[in-house]
Symmetry: C2
Subunit: 350 residues, 2 copies
């Protein structure tokens, strides 16, 4: 992929992980008794070479439309994409509520919504085109557009980390994008499409069957090459998925934690991981979505989800809850007393 | 149990549950797509007959000592109980950090710590005795003391709900109390003690073996009757466990949500459930602890944990994280736009 100019990522240092664990072990609790919270804090601090600052949290919601919706793969009409963008702007969507709850900002990026937002305040316009092409018939986008979508997300991560973002989260909106994400996961997984596709926003059994057939057609028509993540993104991806993958790469490049959400976000993270495996050190999982294709992400990435609330909404809602858990872990690291400072016996009775 | 004067609890009404779900279904998301968050919000609102207020959150940490520590069942000396109470007061313990994170208050109740706190500010003194007796040799407490511990927690719940607490959480501190809680769970479960006992604060394999033998001796000596929860509490329980069970009953009586924590809190909830099964409608689970006896609570209660972070610290730390998740769910209920108010299509394409 000589056309991609992203710098090679540096893995997290074992010495930084050990240093962080040493601090966790002198806090007033039995060693390891905070389980995964300790692991989260350890990695967060090691990523930043010992800096445990966690103030600014930014949830990016990339929005885009999908040509494949003309095949009737979704329970909602594609007009819902711009309608939901307006809902994000007025603060009434689930992601707004959860972002306020975890005190994170929501950044809305138009990557390719099939709607003219004009100069609507609050939208970052990075529109590549008014939606992708119908992947059941032709490639969803050109290779150059795929690069452009990645570069857009990457540059946003760089810009926001300069503005002080400590934790990034990758969310999305795009009617039809669970079809695209399932196609991506099925490509990398190589197994039956049935294991990747789910009911998305709520198609019925017949709808799911149609969705699987559409994905099969898309893979047969385009033959995405699983060894070439850019090829996969361009043939069966979406502009918002490219944006998320770029954001993940950019956050990792700036040594920032990046929290992924459900199926669509996981598909983007998979593309990022295929581009540079070292991205794994910077990615934090949040929930396990009800969408079956999401399980493939955890398998490919060899990680487990943090929680499973049977959510399947997208927008970054699972990642928002993940922010709060990561932050609680980092506060444990920063705010707990040590055995010595609190004058507490840390030895067994003799 | 004629000596218990708690009023009989009213179960949550099916009509209140349906009303709450109807509201959740018109919010701008595919129906049910927020999974367990919707279930949490639904029950929270139904408990309060449609009132969705959630402002004040109070985590009660009941502290007490255990005579059984003289058998050497814990990795830490019993002096750690008062030392940790002082740590709670100065805000340096894990529960303080997590309570601040979720914006909850921490209430510290001395139920029977073997230490004279004098008039230390910030401790609610309800000391029954300086620790329980050694249950390996005699009953841990008298039946009257068991009633007193329950009444104490019950009255605190009533007092705090009058002060405006919307959500209660039950946590604890007491070196030796994972031995007591495992004995309680083994009694109700009726199965092998090995399935109830874990390493607690971190005893090694030999320590765990000894702990199991001590529990076996306690059960053989005292023969707690699983059909009589007061008998179980008095023979192998602890004053803090009685306090928590009383708090749970009192919160339910005042139609308040009560979040339970790990093994010890689960043992208290089991006692409360055995006293009045309708308490189940008011109890919210939080995490699955690494302690094996905790799994018995979920089996007996027929509920699942909300998350599993491999935590085993106690203090109410898992419940604190549960508060934030419950609150996020209630905010979804309160703050999301409806399809109608946001002008969003909620129909399938024709």
């Amino acid at each position: 992929m000589s056309e991609l100019l992203f710098p090679k990522l540096k893995p997290v240092l074992e010495s930084d992980l050990q240093k962080a664990q040493s601090h966790l072990d002198i806090l007033t609790k039995p060693p390891g008794s905070l389980g995964k919270l300790e692991k989260l804090a350890q990695r967060y601090v090691a990523i930043r070479n010992g800096d445990s600052t966690l103030n600014k949290k930014s949830i990016f919601v990339f929005a885009s439309d999908h040509g494949v919706t003309e095949e009737g793969v979704s329970a909602y009409p594609k007009e819902v994409t711009p309608q939901m963008v307006y809902n994000f702007l007025s603060g009434g969507a689930a992601i707004n509520v959860l972002a306020r709850h975890v005190q994170a900002e929501v950044i809305i990026v138009d990557m390719g919504v099939d709607h003219d937002f004009g100069n609507t305040e609050g939208i970052i316009s990075k529109k590549i085109e008014n939606g992708t092409q119908n992947m059941a018939k032709v490639p969803a986008m050109t290779r150059n557009q795929a690069i452009q979508s990645l570069q857009t997300g990457f540059d946003l991560a760089l810009e926001w980390s300069s503005k002080g973002t400590d934790v990034f989260a990758a969310g999305e909106m795009g009617i039809g994008n669970s079809t695209s994400a399932a196609a991506i996961m099925a490509t990398f997984d190589g197994g039956p499409i049935e294991l990747a596709a789910g009911s998305g926003t709520g198609v019925d059994e017949a709808g799911l069957k149609k969705k699987i057939e559409v994905i099969r057609k898309a893979l047969q028509t385009n033959k995405p090459n699983p060894k070439d993540p850019l090829d996969v993104l361009s043939k069966v991806g979406g502009f918002e998925i490219g944006g998320m993958a770029g954001l993940i790469l950019g956050a990792a490049e700036r040594k920032r934690a990046i929290i992924v959400d459900g199926l669509i976000s996981g598909a983007a993270a998979t593309i990022a991981l295929k581009i540079d495996p070292a991205v794994a050190d910077y990615v934090f999982t949040s929930h396990q979505s009800s969408e079956p294709g999401h399980a493939m992400f955890f398998q490919l990435y060899n990680q487990s989800p943090l929680f499973d609330f049977e959510m399947r909404l997208g927008e970054g809602t699972g990642a928002a809850l993940g922010i709060s858990i990561l932050e609680s872990a980092v506060k444990i690291y920063n705010e707990m007393a040590t055995f010595e400072s609190a004058g507490i016996s840390d030895k067994k009775p003799s």
